[in-house]
């Protein structure tokens, strides 16, 4: 009796494996019939991706790589950095938690942006171990950035809404084209910082999502694919296009942000380390916020 039970159960087990083979392996959501059915639609995203990756993405990244360093050094040589007194009173701007979040994001960006460039110019580095390690670092740094996104959005979104100050700020490009120290119209964050926020936060989320799709490429992504009404392979192609184009924009703005904080405004980076900004810096570069703080008697 026992023999028959063993025989029967092993037969049943082999049946389930047959089922697994017939449905799992041979109708894969990526490689199965969906891929064959996607062939007639290849021209839509497949051809576009191939064309962009062959002709345009590397040119875009080349521009993104040199635009800010070149423009920054010209600005530094002609106009020079803004220097504010570091001996005066200080104004508390960023709490400890937000500094940690911001600096975790900064750390992850210091990995994400260079490794992204290494991958974009992988043939320059000859491929192999170095580029592969960069690819893996690019993936590992992503969760670090991901945990900082929501805290930063929640903490700062109210200060990041555009207002009339920002239009005036844009008209004079934040006063960075002159050496004069006259008050610039800006709240706690100026229009440049606001633009960076709106690119890095919603754009960052999009970068995480498209990057995750490409990381998990051959697992079953059909819930996401059906949500957008495309096949899984087209979903991956769209992700790659978005990730590359947005990557150029984010990398450019990141370099502007670093140039501003570390070079163009001497010592501005300390506000993200200690949490305090120089009073003179606030009075000039964030005059509206300074006025508000004065009215509230906080200065």
């Amino acid at each position: 009796m026992k023999k028959y039970r063993v025989l029967l159960s092993s037969l049943l087990l082999s049946m389930t494996s047959l089922y697994a083979i017939s449905t799992g392996t041979y109708d894969d959501p990526l490689y199965g019939t969906a891929m064959l059915n996607a062939i007639p639609k290849y021209f839509a995203f497949g051809e576009v991706f191939t064309y962009l990756q062959r002709e345009w993405f590397w040119k875009g990244f080349l521009i993104a790589l040199f635009l800010v360093p070149v423009a920054g050094s010209i600005h530094y040589m002609i106009i020079g950095p803004k220097v504010f007194s570091h001996d005066g009173k200080k104004i508390f701007a960023f709490g400890l938690f937000m500094r940690i979040m911001h600096n975790l994001a900064a750390l992850s960006f210091l990995v994400l942006v260079p490794t992204g460039f290494v991958m974009a110019f992988g043939d320059f580095f000859g491929g192999g171990t170095f580029v592969r390690v960069c690819k893996n670092l690019h993936g590992i740094a992503t969760p670090v950035f991901a945990i900082t996104v929501l805290p930063m959005i929640i903490a700062w979104i109210r200060d990041m809404i555009f207002n009339m100050d920002d239009v005036k700020w844009m008209m004079i490009v934040g006063g960075y084209l002159s050496k004069e120290k006259k008050p610039i119209p800006a709240g706690k964050f100026n229009a440049g910082q606001k633009a960076w926020f709106w690119i890095a936060m919603p754009g960052g989320i999009l970068m995480i999502l498209t990057g995750a799709l490409m990381f998990f490429l051959n697992i079953n992504l059909s819930p996401v694919a059906t949500l957008f009404g495309v096949s899984q392979i087209d979903l991956l192609r769209i992700s790659a296009i978005i990730h590359n184009v947005l990557g150029m924009v984010v990398a450019t703005f990141f370099m502007v942000h670093v140039y501003m904080a570390a070079i163009a405004i001497k010592g501005a980076i300390h506000s993200m380390i200690t949490g305090y900004k120089e009073e003179e810096e606030v009075a000039i570069l964030h005059s509206s916020w300074y006025r508000k703080l004065k009215e509230e008697g906080k200065v």
């Binding site: 041979y26 490689y31 891929m35 290849y42 497949g46 990756q53 192609r237």
Partner: protein, 210 residues
């Protein structure tokens, strides 16, 4: 590449493919591929719909304008004189771009990196190995058998029980396929093969039973 018709090509005759998966099994076994890597796949469209069901064996098509080689960020692809598209696994970083560019889903990605990151891409080599020393142990281990260098037909086509899967120079393959299509009784001038008519032509089958 002076003559585009001298390039080696696969062609799967969908009228003959009986969905036996022999090519898939032969390929996986011959190259000792890890689980989850299918260099060659058999896909059935309209499964179970009478008169519409079609099966096709599909792998790398070794394209003349190989889009994979156009998008590779580390330029790991190279195209042999005979048209076989190969790649260098030591250069490959496993980014997946070749898969996005490929219309046929040929590139496969093993998960062997950190946290399930993708390892170097694997695809059909038309049983021609890779850039390493021909027929060396390391080439066999990395890319699978090199049957082309031994003058053998790729294992999938050699195994095909109905000869649905053809391989050869595009001239030869198209000539072979043209002969078959004509022999299927779609032209009265063609020399119809008796066996073919037994299998596909209703009248002959009736004749046989009489």
């Amino acid at each position: 590449m002076e003559n585009i018709n001298s390039r080696l090509k696969f062609y799967c005759d969908a009228d003959r493919c009986i969905e036996c998966f022999a090519c898939v099994v032969a390929c996986q076994n011959a190259h000792e591929l890890p689980v989850g890597i299918a260099r060659r796949k058999v896909v059935t469209l309209n499964d179970g719909v009478e008169g519409k069901e079609t099966s096709i064996s599909i792998a790398c098509m070794h394209c003349s304008d190989a889009p994979c080689s156009q998008v590779c960020p580390v330029d790991c692809f190279y195209i042999r004189e005979d048209g076989i598209v190969l790649h260098d696994k030591e250069k490959c970083i496993g980014c997946g771009y070749c898969l996005y560019a490929c219309p046929f889903g040929a590139p496969q990605f093993p998960k062997d990196g950190v946290f399930g990151a993708k390892g170097a891409m694997d695809k059909c080599t038309m049983c021609a190995g890779g850039p390493l020393e021909t027929n060396s142990e390391i080439e066999r281990h990395t890319y699978g058998q090199n049957r082309i260098s031994e003058g053998k037909v790729p294992v999938c086509a050699a195994m095909c029980s109905t000869n649905a899967l053809m391989i050869g120079t595009s001239e030869k393959v198209s000539e072979l396929y043209r002969t078959r299509v004509l022999a299927r009784g779609e032209s009265k001038e063609a020399n119809n093969s008796y066996l073919w008519n037994v299998a596909y032509n209703k009248q002959s089958r009736k004749g046989l039973t009489q």
